[in-house]
C-alpha cells in the first residue's frame, strides 16, 4: 500500500476522534441531569427519565442516526451528517453515562449520606464535597471502558456519510480492491486510539486508589 493510501485513511482519524470526544463529552455532561431526574424524589420525573433511558438504550445506534439524519434531518430541520452523528451518539452516551453514574451513586455507603445530614452539610456540599468525588472514583473505570466502546461505535457514522476512519477505509478498499490490508490498517488505528484511554484510566485509578487507600 502506498503512503497516499495511508494518508487517505489518516484523514478519517480526526473525525473519529471528534465524534468520540464530542459524543462522550455531551454524554458525560447530559448524564448528570439525567441521573438526577432518574433518582428524583418526584415520581413522574423519575418515571419519565427511566422511560427515556430505556428507549434511548433500547434502539440500535445506527437506527438513531437514521432517525436523526434521514428522519428529522430531511423533514424537520436540515442537519449535517457530523452534527447528526454527534446528536445521536451524544444522546446514547447520555443515557449510558446516566446509568454508569447511577451505579456509582448506589455504591456509596448510606452512612456517607447520613453523616452529611447529621453534620448539616446541606445538599450542595453533600453532593459536591462528599458524594461526587467518591462516585467519580467508582465511575472512572466503567466510564473509561465505555469511552473505548463509544470510540468503536462512532464507525456507524460512516453510514450517514461522516468521513471518519471506517468511511475512509471503505472508500479506499473500493478504489484499490485491497480490502483486507485497508481494513486491517483501519483496525490498527482503532486499537491505537484505545490504548491511551485504557492507560490513562489505569493511571488515574491507581493514583486515586493510592491516595484514598481504603
Amino acid at each position: 500500500m502506498s503512503t497516499a493510501d495511508l494518508f487517505a485513511i489518516l484523514r478519517g482519524l480526526p473525525w473519529t476522534v471528534a465524534l468520540t470526544l464530542g459524543a462522550f463529552l455531551a454524554g458525560a455532561v447530559l448524564g448528570v441531569p439525567l441521573v438526577a431526574a432518574r433518582q428524583s424524589r418526584i415520581l413522574p420525573v423519575r418515571f419519565v427519565a427511566m422511560i427515556f433511558i430505556q428507549i434511548v438504550r433500547g434502539i440500535p445506534p445506527i437506527l438513531w442516526l437514521f432517525i436523526i439524519f434521514f428522519g428529522l434531518g430531511m423533514s424537520v430541520f436540515p442537519i449535517s451528517p457530523f452534527n447528526a452523528a454527534i446528536a445521536g451518539l451524544g444522546l446514547i452516551a447520555a443515557a449510558n453515562m446516566a446509568e454508569i453514574y447511577r451505579g456509582a451513586l448506589a455504591s456509596i455507603h448510606f452512612g456517607q449520606w447520613e453523616a452529611s445530614l447529621a453534620l448539616n452539610l446541606g445538599r450542595w456540599s453533600t453532593l459536591t464535597d462528599v458524594v461526587a468525588p467518591q462516585a467519580f472514583r467508582v465511575a472512572l473505570p466503567s466510564a473509561a471502558s465505555y469511552l473505548i466502546g463509544l470510540m468503536k461505535e462512532t464507525a456507524v457514522a460512516s453510514t450517514i456519510g461522516v468521513s471518519e476512519l471506517a468511511f475512509q477505509g471503505n472508500q479506499l478498499s473500493q478504489l484499490t480492491f485491497r480490502g483486507l490490508e485497508v481494513f486491517a490498517l483501519v483496525g490498527m488505528f482503532y486499537i491505537l486510539l484505545s490504548l491511551p484511554v485504557a492507560w490513562l484510566s489505569r493511571v488515574a485509578d491507581s493514583y486515586l486508589q493510592a491516595k484514598v487507600a481504603r
Binding site: 452512612g111 447520613e114 453534620l119 446541606g122 487507600a213 481504603r214
Partner: protein
C-alpha cells in the same frame, strides 16, 4: 494508644452536675439549670404497621449522660435517629433547647438545620469521608455548616484532634487509621460543630475490645467536661460508671430508667433483670 493522654480510670467522675454546667458555661442558677435540654413527648415511629417507638417520653438535663441499653431491635437506634430527624418520627414532639418540632407537621429545611446544629452524632460504623484527610474530615462541616474560615476551622480541628490524641494523623487519610482512631476522629468531627448534645449509637460495637477502650476513654473525658450525651451501648461498665442515668428499652418502650448505679445493680423490673443477666452471661 499513640500519644493520647487519656486513660480509663474507675468510678464516677468527680464533677457534680453543677460543676459540669459551670464548665460548659451554662447558667448555674438552680431554677434555670433544672430545665431539660432535651425533651421527647409521646415520640412514636412506625415502619408499616410495625411499631418501633411506642410513645417515648424522655427528659435529658444539661450535662447529663444517659446510657440506653436493651435487646436488639428494641428501637434504640431509631430513637437516636429520631432525635436529630435522620429518621422523622411520625408522632409526638422533639424539643432541644429552644427548638421544638412537632412530628405531625412536616419539618422545613431551616428548622431541621437548626435542630441538627445543636446535635452531634457518632455512628457505629464511623462514617468518615474516605476521600478526605483526617483534618479535612473535621474541618469541612465547620466551613459549610457554620461558615467558619478555612483557617479557623483547621485551628479548631487541630485542637480537637489533639484532644482525642490524634493530632499526628491530621494529614493521613482515614483508611490508614485503626478503627479506634477513626471513631475518635468521628467524635472530633461531631464536636467541631459545638453541639449542645452528643448522640452515640454503639460507638464501640464495631471495634476490638482494646480499641473500644480508647474510644470509651475519650467519651469519658467528654462526659467529665459536662457534655450532654445520649449513648446507646452494650458496654455495661460505661453505663454503670460513666453515665448518670441508664434507660432500658424493649419493644419500643422505656422499661426502666433511673440513676445508673441503681438500675444496673438493683433493677426493679423483671424484664430488666432478665436482660442484664443475659448480658452478664455472655
Amino acid at each position: 494508644m499513640d500519644g493520647a493522654v487519656l486513660h480509663l480510670g474507675s468510678g464516677k467522675p468527680t464533677m457534680t452536675e453543677d460543676d459540669a454546667l459551670a464548665a460548659k458555661g451554662a447558667p448555674s442558677e438552680k431554677g434555670q439549670a433544672r430545665k431539660p435540654l432535651i425533651k421527647l413527648d409521646k415520640l412514636s415511629k412506625h415502619y408499616g404497621n410495625h411499631t418501633v417507638l411506642d410513645g417515648i417520653d424522655l427528659e435529658v438535663m444539661p450535662g447529663e449522660v444517659l446510657a440506653i441499653i436493651g435487646p436488639s431491635g428494641s428501637g434504640k437506634s431509631t430513637l437516636l435517629r429520631c432525635i436529630n430527624y435522620l429518621e422523622p418520627p411520625d408522632g409526638g414532639h422533639v424539643t432541644i433547647g429552644d427548638i421544638s418540632l412537632n412530628a405531625a407537621a412536616a419539618a422545613g429545611r431551616s428548622e431541621l438545620s437548626t435542630l441538627r446544629r445543636s446535635v452531634g452524632m457518632v455512628f457505629q460504623s464511623f462514617n468518615l469521608f474516605p476521600h478526605m484527610t483526617v483534618l479535612r474530615n473535621v474541618s469541612l462541616a465547620q466551613e459549610r455548616a457554620l461558615g467558619r474560615s478555612r483557617k479557623n476551622a483547621d485551628e479548631r480541628s487541630m485542637q480537637l484532634l489533639s484532644r482525642v490524641g490524634l493530632a499526628d494523623k491530621a494529614e493521613q487519610f482515614p483508611g490508614r487509621c485503626s478503627g479506634g482512631q477513626q471513631q475518635r476522629i468521628a467524635i472530633a468531627r461531631a464536636l467541631a460543630l459545638d453541639p449542645d448534645v452528643m448522640l452515640f449509637d454503639e460507638p464501640t460495637s464495631a471495634l476490638d475490645p482494646e480499641l473500644g477502650l480508647e474510644v470509651l476513654a475519650v467519651m469519658r473525658e467528654l462526659a467529665e467536661t459536662g457534655m450532654t450525651m445520649i449513648v446507646v451501648t452494650h458496654e455495661m461498665s460505661f453505663a454503670e460508671n460513666v453515665s448518670d442515668t441508664v434507660m432500658i428499652m424493649a419493644d419500643g418502650k422505656i422499661i426502666e430508667k433511673g440513676p445508673s448505679q441503681d438500675v444496673m445493680r438493683n433493677p426493679q423490673q423483671e424484664r430488666t433483670k432478665r436482660f442484664l443477666r443475659a448480658v452478664h452471661d455472655r
